[in-house]
Symmetry: C2
Subunit: 289 residues, 2 copies
């Protein structure tokens, strides 16, 4: 195998950091059996405190499916499990089509790394052909001024991945910047888009669905050790709906539900400026104290 | 292999139907490698229109993990994917421990069936040792009269699994029994418990989290073909919290969020009578028209 972080980076140097992050080399393809392996490299541009931002890892797992030649339809649901810390550097994606139905497909993706190709993250994904049938949105879009009327967060957060987003908070803010007292609510509402601007697609919308600061940071007066253990995002949009958003902002609502015994759940909604709920998401996050 | 539906049924004939459904024979165990295979049989007592009730399949997948000797801690999250129709009769569970951390474990469970042992359903599960740390419930328990004050649904629904639950609706009802016009909301609130009564545990709470009638049945004046494709349930309880519920009712809230392009998402909460949110759940359901 000749792929190295350097060759991959060199071949994609003029790409948006997000596109660089999801650029892979193909290592193995058994198309008839629905199996593909690809090699990627973690993205320094999306670095978190330790290792990569979970949203970019999720986007890499989903991209493994999106790039599969036998993939039909668009993603409707993905569950990502974070099993072990991901180290900076090369990783391998093992993409398996586990089921082919008439208008949908099921997938399993594994992210493996290290000398023993240890499993660090995995995802189950469902893709499907969308149909023009009865539709309805029961949840209501939160009211918010237009993104142009909301000031962008300019505070310097010492995390590389935070620089990759343009955040404009309507409710809540970046944690640890306001009153240090515990807050009774962890609700936040913000316009968000990629920085630099990039037309939204399924993978970047998935990354966006993990761009919420951990809700416990809003509730506690202290920074506590946390880590997402599992995240599910359900998409409610076709490719043309995402094309209509383009490089515009997405209205992102997040709130904690239950914090219990070392794990808390937070839910999220992502809305287009035109009023479409593009995706809903929920994740379970480990917290230590 | 000598296990047959008959031998399994005979060895568990005096058990509660739920316990019969999660009674397996061990087929293979490679404990050092964290791999177990078990053989089970679909439960006629939990039959759905076609094949088994999804909640009992989910409970069977989770039980495969719960019965693993190397399992530590309690379930905190499970995502179940329904890939293909499950046929009445024998199935095989392949349970793999994919990661062992200090206080948590990750698992993959596959349900295979048929001559080619085709994958019909799978699940990713996280188990963990619960710790006595800071806790908070941000969502609010819906107000409801005590279960004893709410009449039990006595209407005869021609589905075996529905007979396995005692439903007492506070809001909403069994679909197709009221006004045939479309309803603007799919919200329902009901006290539910196993029938006959059985002390609740993680597996039965998981099954309960799928005991909600598909939200689209409340919205449409017609019965439309549907099927759950993926469901995630996050648990927010220790074993002693479930012991405190015992054979009591659980207050179950469900509502549709977005119905779009052939898939809709419904969310759910399950509360103890004492006011603890025991679990939250969300599922994506296929609908045809």
């Amino acid at each position: 195998m000749t792929t190295t972080p350097e060759t991959l980076a060199a071949s994609s140097a003029d790409l948006h950091p997000f596109d660089q992050a999801v650029a892979f080399e193909r290592a193995l393809s058994l198309e008839g059996r629905g199996l593909t392996e690809r090699v990627g490299v973690t993205s320094a541009a999306y670095a978190n405190m330790v290792g990569p931002f979970g949203g970019i890892t999720a986007a890499q797992l989903l991209s493994g499916v999106l790039k599969a030649e036998e993939r039909r339809g668009v993603p409707v649901s993905i569950t990502v499990n974070f099993l072990a810390p991901i180290e900076d550097g090369e990783f391998r994606l093992v993409v398996t089509r586990t089921r082919e139905n008439k208008s949908s497909q099921h997938w399993m993706v594994e992210l493996r790394q290290g000398a023993e190709q240890q499993l660090r993250a995995n995802a189950t994904v469902i893709t499907a052909v969308r149909r023009d049938v009865w539709k309805s949105t029961e949840i209501v879009m939160p009211t918010a001024p237009a993104p142009q009327e909301v000031p962008r967060v300019t505070r310097n957060v010492p995390l590389r991945w935070v620089e990759r987003y343009d955040f404009r908070f309507v409710e809540g803010t970046v944690p640890f910047t306001g009153d240090p007292a515990d807050s009774p609510s962890s609700r936040s509402l913000a316009w968000v888009r990629d920085e630099p601007p990039r037309p939204v697609d399924y993978a970047s919308l998935l990354a966006l669905s993990d761009s919420f600061f951990p809700r416990i940071f809003f509730r506690r007066a202290q920074r506590v050790p946390i880590g997402t253990v599992t995240m599910t995002t359900n998409f409610h949009c076709r490719e043309e709906d995402l094309a209509a958003v383009g490089t515009g902002h997405v209205l992102a609502l997040a709130q904690g539900q239950v914090f219990f015994g070392g794990f808390f759940e937070q839910t999220a909604q992502m809305w287009s400026e035109g009023g479409q709920c593009l995706a809903t998401s929920h994740q379970l996050v480990y917290y230590r104290e």
